[in-house]
Every structure is written in structure tokens, then in C-alpha cells.
């Protein structure tokens, strides 16, 4: 899966979970500070990504920004192959 496709998937899931516009979700956005997510939102975003992509994601992995999430998902997808 290309980085762009992963970003689009992350955007869609984050937008739905946090009830924000997809356009506002930039790669550099900080999930907690800029997008106002709390720890349970992060659980849910990770859960949705796990279910959709059949990968395992730890919520306490060092993910602060959307870019961190995209890179973490990319790494876990690569590890699966």
C-alpha cells in the first residue's frame, strides 16, 4: 500500500472518530494538541486501523502526529509481508 493510500485511510478514520473535516487533517498535525484527541480516541483510531488493515498496533507506541501514524502503519504492513 502506498504512503498516500495509507494517509487517505488514516484521514478518513481520524475524521470520523474525531468528527473533524478531512481537509484539516495534515500530516504534521499533532493528534492530541491540534486535533483535540484524548487517549481513548487514539485507542479507537488504532483499533479501526487494525481491523481495516489486519495489522497489530500498540497505542503507546511513540505516535504524536498523523505522519507518525502513517509511518507506523507502513512499518507494520511491511512487517506483515
Amino acid at each position: 500500500m502506498t504512503e498516500e493510500k495509507i494517509f487517505n485511510k488514516v484521514k478518513k478514520i481520524v475524521a470520523e472518530q474525531l468528527d473533524v473535516d478531512q481537509d484539516k487533517i495534515k500530516l504534521e498535525a499533532d493528534i492530541k494538541d491540534d486535533l483535540d484527541a484524548d487517549s481513548l480516541d487514539v485507542f479507537e483510531i488504532m483499533n479501526e486501523l487494525e481491523d481495516d488493515l489486519d495489522i497489530k498496533l500498540e497505542a503507546d507506541e511513540n505516535v504524536k502526529t498523523i505522519k507518525d501514524v502513517v509511518e507506523y502503519v507502513k512499518k507494520q504492513l511491511a512487517a506483515k509481508e
Binding site: 484524548d38 487517549s39 481513548l40 479507537e44 488504532m46 483499533n47 503507546d60
Partner: protein, 325 residues
Amino acid sequence: MAAIKIITSSHYLPKHQVSNDDLSHLMDTSDEWIKTRTGIEHRRISEGENTSDLCTAVAVELLKKSGWSPESIDLIIVATMSPDYYTPATAAIVQGKIKAKQAVAFDLSAACSGFIYSLVVAQSFMGNMNYRRVMIIGGEVLSKVINWHDRTSAVLFGDGAAGVLLENEQDSTSSFLGNHLQTFGDLAASLQAGKTLPLASFPAYSPHNYGAFEMAGRDVYTFATHRVPESIIAAVKKSNLQLNQVDWFIVHQANSRIIKQIAKRLQQPLEKFPMNIAAYGNTSAASVPILLDELIDKKKIERGQILALTGFGGGLTVGTQIIKY
């Protein structure tokens, strides 16, 4: 299909109410933090009353409301993860206090799923062994097993008890429909309380100590948001019903955010998932019957309606019982 009827219900809560602000004086937390992440505003904490006291108060009220004589009860099950003792069982103490001399009494340990597991066990006794009148109580004094310095878990729980009386009635329009129980022992370490240790050597002189409540938050969250919808779907299917036919989903009150996710995954309106967690917190085995009794009392639940009662928690365990009330 078992022609079992919930005759009446009752709940009892300790008087002392503790707010989120009260907790913020004990640990580094705040009303806003607790409310947004859990939906909890208050909880009741027992001062001086143990689990059997709460359960006995429920039992006395159940007898009063039903007019049943204590001697007519065949079985008493108390679902609890915070019993007074290893032995006697909390249910035996209740049996003694209300003088239900004919009743067989024991506790059932399945944490927050305990009330649902007890309903299923009771059905088996009522079907296979012809027990006619059964008392089931979920009761907890969790405040005695909580680490009051651990802000990740201490803010979540409360004390309370509630129960129902069940009766076999052949011509009843009420019945117990399908159920689903499942246990995930491989996840046992995700939620623990009251750990005991063997002697390191003999003779031992050090005092016994017991482990306080510990929970792996995300593991339990993920477990609940996945396994609970599956359990509800399985039990509804076994009842030959569709999800849309369920009038009320009475789900264990662990966290309002978990309940919202469950509703979303089941694609059912949140209005069908009543909540009272704001007032009482998570009362483990007591939460489903407390909510059930409140809804019956407010006449929200009416005879003939389809209820899905679901518990989930320590074990890890999950269970659903579908009832035609």
C-alpha cells in the same frame, strides 16, 4: 425457550457519594478528565458496609416487593468479585440473614459478567433440576480492592448491589431466550484484583498481602469494543431475532465511550443503550441489575419487551442473555 419470568428487581447503594472533584483532592485528576473519558460524575462508596450487607439489603427488598416467603426460595446466587471472605460465600451469608433455609446458596466469580453468567446458571438449575424460585444478586464493594493512589483505575469504580427474583411459570408470556457466554483466559492478566501469593517458604511469618486492582486499559477497551458486539449478535441469533427487534441493550456500565462504540459497531441507535454510569461509576457485577431495576422502576422497560443484558470484564469474560421481559 425457558418460561422464566423476572418477578421483581431491586437495588441498594451506599449513602456516601463521592464526586470527581473529591477524587481530585486525593490524586492528580480532574472532573473534566474523568467526565470526558468515562462519562462518570459521581460514585457511591461504602463506609462500613461490606458486600454481604449490600446484598442482604437487596434481598430483603426483593422479598418485600414480591411477598415471597424466604423459605420458598430454592437457589441464591451472588455474583461478585469483592466477596467478604474466601469462605463463607456471600450468598451463604445472605441466605442466613434472610432465613431462606431451603435455598442452596453460592457465589459466582466472573467479575463484570457475573450477573449474566448467574442468569444462565440459574436457567440450568431451573430447567434441569426443577428449581422454581431463584434469587440472583450482583454486589460489589470494589472500594476495598482499589488502589486509591492509582488515578488510571481508582476513578472508574463504585460500590453497589442489585438483584432479581426469577420464577418458572409455564403459562408466562415472559421467557429467557438465547444466550452467549465466552471466556478468554489468555487475557487474564489484563484485569486483576485481589491477587494472593503462596508462601515463599515454610514456616512463614510475613503477613499476607493482597494485590489491588490493576487493569491494562487499552487491552480491555479493545476487548470490550470487539467481543461485546459479537456476543450480542450471537445471543440475538440464537434467539431467532434480529438486532432491530431488541428494545433495550442493558450493557455493563464500564465506560460511556465503550458503550457508544458498541452501539456504533452494532449500528443501533444510542437511545437503545440506557446509561446511569454518571451517577454510580463502574459497579462491576452490580451494574446491569442496578440499571435494569432503575429502568423497570421508571416504567421505561415494559412487559413483553426484548432486552439484551450484557456483561464484560475480568477473566476476561463476556456474556449476553436475551430476555422477553
